[in-house]
């Protein structure tokens, strides 16, 4: 199943129609007539045929989950990822602290320091995923597209702390250097038609 099918929510012409329902019979003879009609109309065999047809067609819709996975929508908000810059591989996070500030469940904690190049770097960064409600505010507020929501929805670990580690969330360094980090389309990225929607800031009040 491709992603387009998966995301198609147009139900306007899906073959649904209202069924004619006869009035409920009042007299005994009417009931008898209905019973006879139902008995010899053969609707039971229609039911039998429908299931047999599906069995012969063998059009199986099962997704054998661990082996096969359905595509997840790009804007799905799963466990966070920290991005790197494309070619240099520098961490995108500038340590501005906006995500920590906006987090409504208070689960982001960061420490910053000035390193030897006089750049502000992140020394500590943790997300308490036990508290996180995956609202996406942190990704939305991030000015540098550094913290985003990834598509990793299978979270199993012995300890929650295992996937709150900054180094784990961070894109591996060599991947970034080799240009293997794809243009990020997911939650936190700029939406596709942003150019048309942007308005010039009114300067004159």
């Amino acid at each position: 199943m491709s992603l387009e099918q998966f995301k198609n929510r147009d139900v306007s012409d899906s073959g649904y129609y209202l069924v004619d329902i006869d009035a409920y019979p009042e007299k005994g003879f009417d009931k008898f007539k209905r019973i006879v009609a139902r008995t010899f109309r053969g609707e039971l065999f229609v039911g039998l045929w429908v299931v047999m047809r599906e069995m012969i067609k063998f059009d199986i819709h099962t997704v054998q989950y661990p082996k096969e996975k359905l595509p997840v929508g790009p804007r799905y908000r799963a466990v966070h990822e920290m991005q790197r810059l494309w070619e240099s591989g520098t961490e995108r996070c500038i340590g501005c602290g906006l995500c920590e500030k906006i987090c409504i469940s208070d689960c982001i904690r960061m420490d910053t320091k000035i390193d030897e190049n006089n750049r502000k770097v992140v020394s500590e960064y943790t997300i308490n995923l036990g508290r996180c409600i995956f609202c996406g505010y942190c990704a939305e507020v991030c000015p540098e597209l550094a913290i985003v929501h990834g598509g990793r929805y299978e979270n199993t670990s012995e300890q929650r702390a295992h996937y709150t580690d900054y180094q784990d969330m961070l894109t591996p360094f060599d991947m970034a250097l080799n240009g293997q980090v794809p243009e990020y389309p997911g939650f936190g990225a700029v939406t596709p038609h942003e150019d048309e929607r942007v308005k010039s800031t009114p300067l004159a009040y």
Binding site: L44, L48, M55, F58, I60, T62
Partner: protein, 329 residues
């Protein structure tokens, strides 16, 4: 001769027990697979190739599960009830010829444990006793949902024994014997001799009643799935619950054999082809149980009773009367 007969009977009993216990297990596999295919699913796929070993996994699970007897349950009755279901299902098999007689190493084997002269009466009687399993089990388990299930079960079984008996009366009048082997020999001449052609109404009635007899959809009121609670099995766990299932599936196999023997010529003249045809016909009826479960909904208890007493029973009586008149003149 006596000793040889004794040994032969014991061997036959053991073979039937083993074969049909295993088949009952495979019956659950077939049921899950066919229901899955008919609803565009795959069914069990992970244990063994195509999930064949799922029954082994289920068996291990059932055997090793904790056996719980609830507080306030009537212990002895609660414990014996599943055994009644399974035991009566297999006891009914004693009078069913599973294959035509064949000769092996110069010794003629009759694949029937006891060709008693009240064969079909015995089978129906023992199968009817099997209903005490769910009834006693649910009454003894001190659970209100089980109690409701017992009430429904009693209503269904009492109703449908009437239809089973009356529908069989007409063919019995024609054949003049209760033995299933006599039934088979009566129809041995070929397809045109099958009783279904002379007694189509009796065939349909017996077939419908067989669904109630085995407690299958659309008459699955013993353990009503729609209540989510599993009727008589609510308080059962582990192998006791498993015994109910072995009994149910064994019953489905045996009643399929009986339908074919009574109405569809059984194994015919006793050739290999006849034996194969016998098993094929039996498989169709077993498959039909599963097919119906995929296609049709359950009906309400009052509809079931209405169908039995106001429709099927009068038809059965009329059928018997007409058969009697035709035979008289």
């Amino acid at each position: 001769m006596e000793i040889a007969y004794f040994i032969e009977t014991v061997i036959k009993i053991v073979v039937i027990l083993l074969v049909f216990s295993a088949l009952a297990g495979f019956g659950t596999y077939f049921e899950r697979k066919i229901l899955a295919f008919m609803s565009r699913r795959l069914g069990p796929m992970n244990v063994g190739p195509y999930g064949v070993l799922q029954i082994a996994a289920d068996g291990i699970k059932l055997f090793t599960k904790e056996d719980i007897v609830p507080t306030n349950a009537v212990g002895p009755i609660f414990k014996i009830a599943p055994v009644i279901t399974a035991a009566t299902a297999f006891m009914a098999a004693a009078a069913i010829p599973f294959l035509p007689q064949f000769t092996i190493f110069g010794y003629t084997v009759h694949p029937i444990v006891a060709d008693v002269n009240i064969g079909i009466l015995y089978i129906l009687g023992v199968m009817a006793v099997g209903f005490y399993g769910p009834l006693l089990g649910s009454l003894a388990s001190s659970n209100k949902f089980a109690l409701l299930s017992a009430a429904r079960a009693a209503a269904v079984f009492i109703s449908y024994e009437v239809v089973t008996g009356l529908s069989l009366l007409a063919p019995l009048m024609m054949v003049g014997s209760f033995s299933l082997i006599d039934f088979n020999n009566y129809q041995a001449g070929g397809i045109s001799d099958w009783i279904i052609w002379s007694q189509p109404v009796a065939f349909l009635l017996f077939w419908i009643a067989a669904f109630a007899e085995t407690g299958r959809t659309p008459f699955h009121l013993v353990a009503n799935d729609h209540e989510i609670i599993d009727g008589f099995g609510t308080e059962y766990s582990g192998m006791r619950w498993g015994l109910f299932f072995i009994g149910e599936y064994a019953n489905m196999f045996f009643i399929s054999f009986v339908i074919v023997l009574l109405f569809l010529g059984g194994f015919g003249d006793g050739s290999v082809l006849g034996a194969l045809g016998f098993l094929l016909k039996m498989s169709f009826f077993f498959f039909f149980f599963l097919w119906v479960r995929a296609a049709w909904p359950d009906i309400r208890p009052d509809q079931l009773m209405w169908l039995c007493w106001k429709v099927l029973m009068p038809i059965a009586v009329i059928n018997v009367v007409i058969t009697g008149f035709v035979m008289m003149f």
